[in-house]
């Protein structure tokens, strides 16, 4: 871990409402403690967020993100029904959509057994790397 990464960790901790924090990872561990957590005193952003940045997913609902940049397809062919719809229960590994990059189709699998709560992209739209595609509820 670089110092910069440690500083980032410290900054993030200080901005949090946490009192103490212990972290260990492989051969690295860190413990942080503060008496008065920051009362949300987030410093104002110096610059606006990028226009096209992927919207941050809400922490409470996990999302399936695009594993590569490409065109999002909800179904295997134009005349076929979509792989999944809100409310559908899917198994881990089940295909939830396709992403096309340069005429190569990639299947996007469900990360775990779950219920699809929301479809976040329109069929045929460009999706950026890491962009949320579905919101789901594990089950």
């Amino acid at each position: 871990m670089t110092n910069q990464e440690i500083f980032d960790l410290m900054d993030r901790f200080q901005r949090s409402s946490l009192r103490s924090m212990k972290l260990s990872c492989q051969d690295f561990s860190i413990e942080l403690e503060q008496s008065a957590p920051a009362a949300a005193a987030a410093a104002p952003e110096a610059v606006p967020a990028p226009a096209a940045a992927a919207p941050a997913p809400q922490p409470e609902n996990p999302v399936i993100s695009a594993p590569l940049v490409g065109t999002y397809y909800a179904a295997s062919a134009p005349d076929q029904p979509p792989f999944v719809a809100p409310g559908d229960r899917v198994k881990k590994g089940q295909t939830v959509c396709l992403i096309e990059a340069m005429k190569m189709m990639s299947e996007v699998p469900a990360p775990c057994d779950c219920v699809i709560e929301e479809v976040l992209k329109a069929n045929g739209a460009l999706t950026a790397f890491g962009e949320p595609l579905f919101r789901y509820r594990p089950c």
């Binding site: 967020a49 226009a51 940045a53 940049v69 460009l126 790397f129």
Partner: protein, 463 residues
């Protein structure tokens, strides 16, 4: 004219391309890795798309991702910048196959210029001087001796199949040649399974002189004068200038014509650079290589010619013919560039990226800054360490040097160390001020230059 261009790069060159597009009414699509989401050009582009994680192989070198975004966003052109895929012939071909104009030469041209041995032969045919050497292989000590006699010592004995410094011996006179020949041959046999040798003159303490060329698709080729990039460390240029002080008008004329012939020899189109070695006494020049892209140091040429090179790239790629002839190119004044890198010269130039806690660039008459930094931004550890380019333009070289000194005095960056103080010391070094730097200068003088640095920071500590 191109309508929408994908900028397949990052950092200051992405911003440079974006600015040129914006000034020509061309829309821009920025692509970025997860590490660059807050980059300046990403925020300024018409549209921005994340193409992958921080690792360049997964983002900026991901040809599929780039072409996918280019097509999906309706781009008709793609600017590769420098580095990354800018000299990748296959990528240039792939763009063309997909109907995207690659803003640079064709894949075939990139291939011709990229292969050093093939390029050497092409240049000889085109009448561009290459380093003197044997005509093809030298099979015996006798032929090696006679070839060496002809080109003059010192010479390099090189394995035809060589690479990575193996199978090479320097040889300073005839008495040492037989042993060196045998050694190199044996090493070549052991390393490459092929002991064919050839011989080349070693240019000692050369200067690195390069010529900027522009070529359109109608066969018009011109050059925009020269740059001296001799102040370098391990092939990393630190300070560049235009024009080179060491060239006489006659030599500049001859080298410029050779550069144009070199560009013609590879069927060049768009902006490119022909690099030469100039020998110690400034008499002979030799073709080194051709760079088939815009270069980091293109700004010094822009300052002395008044020609916007990225604008020219976009015009040429749009199929327009050059809007100037060789006779229209006039060199006015003198320009210098200092590259500001996030590195610590005192610690063997270790890269030191980090967050910019305070930033102030110099301004005023004759000063240009190209940088993607802003206050509070983070210079990513994933890519190269260049943080800014400071450029100055003044009527004379001495005035340019003085202007650059005051720019480095004004320049303030807090958050990580940079090489700015080292450049400042170089600008006071008598050899540099005289215009006497060869590519050996920086390595030979580094300890003393760094000593100044150290003493300065110590005295600051005392104050």
């Amino acid at each position: 004219m191109l309508k929408r261009v994908l900028i397949a790069n990052r950092g200051e060159i992405a911003l440079r391309v974006l600015r040129a597009c914006r000034e020509m009414g061309i829309e821009t699509v920025a692509v970025y890795s997860e590490a660059d989401a807050e980059a300046l050009h990403v925020q300024l582009a018409t549209q921005s798309v994340c193409i992958g994680p921080a690792r360049a192989a997964d983002s900026y070198l991901n040809q599929y991702a780039l072409l996918t975004v280019a097509k999906a966003t309706g781009c008709d052109g793609l600017h590769p910048g420098y580095g990354f895929l800018s000299e990748n012939a296959d990528f240039a071909d792939a763009c063309r196959r997909e109907g995207i104009t690659f803003i640079g030469p064709s894949g075939d041209t990139i291939r011709k210029a990229g292969s050093k041995s093939a390029a050497r032969e092409l240049m000889k045919t085109a009448g561009v001087p290459v380093t003197p050497g044997s005509d093809g292989p030298v099979d015996t000590v006798a032929t090696a001796l006679s070839a060496a006699e002809r080109v003059g010592y010192p010479v390099l004995l090189k394995a035809s199949a060589g690479g990575g410094g193996r199978g090479i011996r320097r040889c300073d006179g005839p008495s040492a040649l037989p042993a060196a020949y045998a050694e190199a041959k044996a090493e070549a046999k052991a390393c490459f399974g092929d002991d064919e040798m050839y011989l080349e003159k070693l240019v000692l303490r050369p200067r690195h002189i390069e010529f900027q060329v522009l070529a359109d698709r109608f066969g018009n080729v011109i050059h925009l004068g020269d740059r001296d990039c001799s102040v370098q460390r391990r092939n990393q240029k630190l300070i560049e200038e235009a024009p080179a002080r060491c060239l006489t008008p006659a030599l500049r004329e001859a080298m410029g014509q050779a550069a144009v012939r070199a560009a013609r020899a590879v069927g060049y189109e768009n902006a490119g650079t022909v690099e030469f070695l100039l020998d110690d006494n400034g008499e002979h020049f030799y073709f080194m290589e051709m760079n088939t892209r815009i270069q980091v140091e293109h700004g010094v040429t822009e300052l002395i010619t008044g020609v916007d090179l990225v604008r020219q790239q976009l015009r040429i790629a749009s199929g327009l013919s050059l809007d100037m002839a060789q006779a229209d190119v006039h060199l006015a004044g003198h320009a210098l560039e200092c590259r500001i890198n996030a590195e610590d010269p005192a610690k063997n130039f270790r890269p030191c990226p980090g967050q910019v806690s305070f930033l102030h660039f110099p301004g005023g008459a004759g000063v240009r800054v190209d940088s993607c930094l802003y206050n509070g931004c983070t210079l990513s550890p994933y890519y190269d360490s260049m943080a800014a380019k400071l450029l100055v333009h003044a009527p004379t070289r001495l005035e340019a040097i003085r202007k650059m000194r005051r720019c480095l005095e004004e320049f303030t960056l807090e958050g990580f160390p940079t090489n700015a103080e080292l450049s400042y010391q170089i600008l006071y070094h008598p050899t540099f001020v005289r215009g006497g730097c060869t590519t050996a200068f920086l390595d030979e003088n580094l300890p003393r230059l760094l000593d100044f640095n150290r003493r300065l920071s110590e005295s600051e500590g005392e104050a």
